[in-house]
Every structure is written in C-alpha cells, then in structure tokens.
Amino acid sequence: MQPTLKYFIRQISACAALCVALTTPALAAGYAYITNQASNNVSVIDISKQQVIATIPVGKAPVGVAVSAKLAKVYISNVEGQSISIIDANKFEHLEDFPIKGSPVGLAIAPNSNVLYVADWYEDRILEINLSDMQQQREIHIGKAPAGIIVSPDGKKLYVANRDSNDIAIIDTEKLVVLSRINVGEHPYGLTLSPDGQKLYVVNVYSNTVSLVDTETGQIDTVRVGEHPYCVAVNPNGQYIYVTNTQGDTVSVVDIALKKTIASIHVGGFPEGIAFQAATQQIFVANWFDNTVSVIDASTNKVTASILTGNQSRAFGQFILEPVH
C-alpha cells in the first residue's frame, strides 16, 4: 500500500503545482468587498495584491455585504439609502440599486445562491428575496433590531442576532417560521457559524463577550473579549474565532477548545467587519475610524498590512468572495 500512497500523493502534488502554474492569474486568492459608510462606495481589495483595485459607488451609507461566487455578484445593504446595491463581481461594476421598504443592515445568501436574506433594522423583520428575479419575496417578523444574520451550511436554518431583544432567533428557511429563540448576552450584533454549522458564535456588544452556542443542544458558553465588541470570524478548521473590539482597537483571538481569549491584536481605530480568508490564512479587518483594512497573518497573529480604503469602512457580514474554481 505504501508505494501506491506515495505515488498518489506525488501525483496530486504535481497536479496541484501544475494547476497553480497554469491558472495563477484566474486563481487569485479572492477579493474583499469593503463598504465605506461615509463615502457611499465599496473598496474592492485584491487579496493577492493586497491593494484596492476598484472603488464602486453604491447607495447611501452602505454597511452589509453578501457575496455569491455562483452568481458572480456582490450585494450591499445601503441602510440610509434604503436599498440593496448589486455589484458585478467579474467587472467590478455597479449593476443596479434595488429599493427596500425599510432600513437594511445585515445580509446573508443561501448556500445555493437562490435567495438573499435582509435584516431590516427598524421594522424588526427579515426579508427573503429570490435572487433569480428580485421580485418574489417573503418576510418574517422577529425580535427587535435584527443585526447579524447567517445561513446554516445546509441552507435549512437562518440565525438572526436580535440586538435589542438580547437573543438569537433560529428560523426554518423553508417555512420561514421561527423555530426557537435563545437568550444570549446584551446587544448581540455580529455572528458567524463554525464550518460544520454546529457552533454559532455571537458577539454581545454591551457585555463585552462572545456566546458560543451549540446549535443542536442550545448549550451556551460565554467568553470575555475586549471593549464593545462587534463582529466575529472563524478559521476554517474551527479552532479559533477572531472578534473585533470597537472601543479597544483590537482583535481578540479566542481558542474554542479552551473557551478563552488567548491573544489580543492591535489593529486600526474602531474595527468592525472581520473575515477569515482560507487560501492565504489571513484575517481582514475593516477599521471604521481609520478608513483602513488591517491584514493579520493567522499563523503569527501579527498585522502584516494596512490598506487604505474609503471613509468609515464597515464591511458587515461575509465580505470575501473566494474564487469559484
């Protein structure tokens, strides 16, 4: 068996090297779409180049981002403009603004890219928009001031952080009904799921904590992070989560097995959105006060770059579009 296995590995390595060599230009590490609230545009960062390659005008006060590799589109919530901007991810061009009767903040796309979920900050509801035509819509009323939203990897559940109700709503995406609500800390805002969907990580802004929620049993562990935390990202093996602390100008690294903060990384002023990029093992952080994005090397937990973006960068949600291939 041994020689066969070695041969097999060698073949894979050779193929991988060849594939990379042949397709490097197309196989970029991906792009980060950073919403700039005060300049009403989106900075597109080419992750392999570590620089802004396009600036796309959108609606007023953009905040949330959702990406679809399948559709090659990026969706932006313009909370003051009361619209969703649609971006062509191949041409880095603004396609259209889709009006929303409400104030859209959090966005999430189903894994099959069929529907977009929109959290309406003031009207306490989630809108479901069919992405094939943007016309077929459903809605569900939930807790107060829905903020962060995310869909389970199997697409069956939608998790919503109800900021002013201090809880999480779990929604059945087929019937669009609330299955349950789980109390977390004070003012839950950003959230994310472990890659296997078994753990939900919720940031509690006023409690300075993250709730680690078991999505099957509902059991919760609470971990203290920095001051006024906002958003959270998870690494691909689910070992660590990274939390932005807006009033600490830091990112807390939480070890999930140990259930505690093991490092604090100084980034730019008022860090908000955060995302983990698997291919390069880097963490991208949008700094609202400094108009920059900090890049963290996940192997060292050190900031390796600071990229100038637009005014008041937020990047709320899953803002990195990975290559499809």
């Binding site: 009361q82 900050w121 107060k144 009033q247 609202w288 006060f289």
Partner: protein, 178 residues
Amino acid sequence: MKKLLTLIAMAALPLTAAAHGPSPQKVEKEIIIKAEPAKVWALVKDFGGWQKWHPAVASTKIEVKKDDNGDDATFRTLTLKDGGTIVEKLRSSDDTSMVIKYEIESGVLPVSDYYSVFSVKPGENAGETKVTWMGRFYRVYKLNPPIPEGQDDESAIKAVTGMYDSGLAALKKIAEGK
C-alpha cells in the same frame, strides 16, 4: 391624566424605536498647544473641572454610583451656560497614555450612544502638546425616514463639532496662559 399619558408614551416608545440608529457618525478634532503635555493633561483629566476651560460649561457635579452592570462608576453632570445639562460616565482615565474616555448617558446634545476619546500627546517640538478629541455617536432619531429636523446626522455632527472646536480653542488659550 397627564402623568398617565406620559407613562403610556414612554412605554410605547421602546416597542418601535431601536436603541440607536444604524449609522454611527464621527467627529475628530486636533490642536497643537504650546504648553507641556503634563500641564494640558492636568486640565483634561480633571473630570469634574472642565468648566475651568470649556466655554460652554458653567459647573460640574461629580457622583460615584453603580452603573447598569452594577459596577461603581464615576458620573458627572455638566450644567451648561445656556442652562441645559449633560450626564456623562467616565469610562477610563490613564495617566501613562494620557487618554480619557467617557460616554454620554443623557442630556441636551442632539446625539445618542455618544462615546468619546480625549488624548494628550507630546507635540513635534519641545514644550508642545498635541491634543486629539474624537467622538463616535448616532443621531437622535431612531425610526425610518423621514427624519425630523434637529434629530438627523447633520445636527448631531454640528453640535459635537461646535463643542470640540470651542473647547479645544479655549483649552489652548488657558494652557498657554493667554
């Protein structure tokens, strides 16, 4: 009856209004003062003594009491020269970094969820100080548009800008002994 109506109004409000709006605003102001940082910091760190330099403040009352989390915290009530008051909570004050952080609990400034960082640093030249005052806050209005006049982002930014500009100019004057 009037009391009852007020109670009803207060009870009805949270059902529709979010804790704050969705778009934070910022103001950041900086000034170079020709005085030693220690002298400027002594004026700034005195949480109960901003009337000594800020032209809008008439007097300050300091209180130590429990905050929402049940922890002891320092609060101040600023009485403004035009008669209004602002209640603020001291978040932290650090002599080493010369940074003071505070937030507004309530008051006449047309803002909500206001958080501020006031930083004192040595300037580029000897005997100079660089002072930075920054705030992050939301407008007062917490519902969908139309936004009433005086409760919008512009009103909030204008009020904070006015407070920072007038305060920093006066701080410079007093610290420089003019």
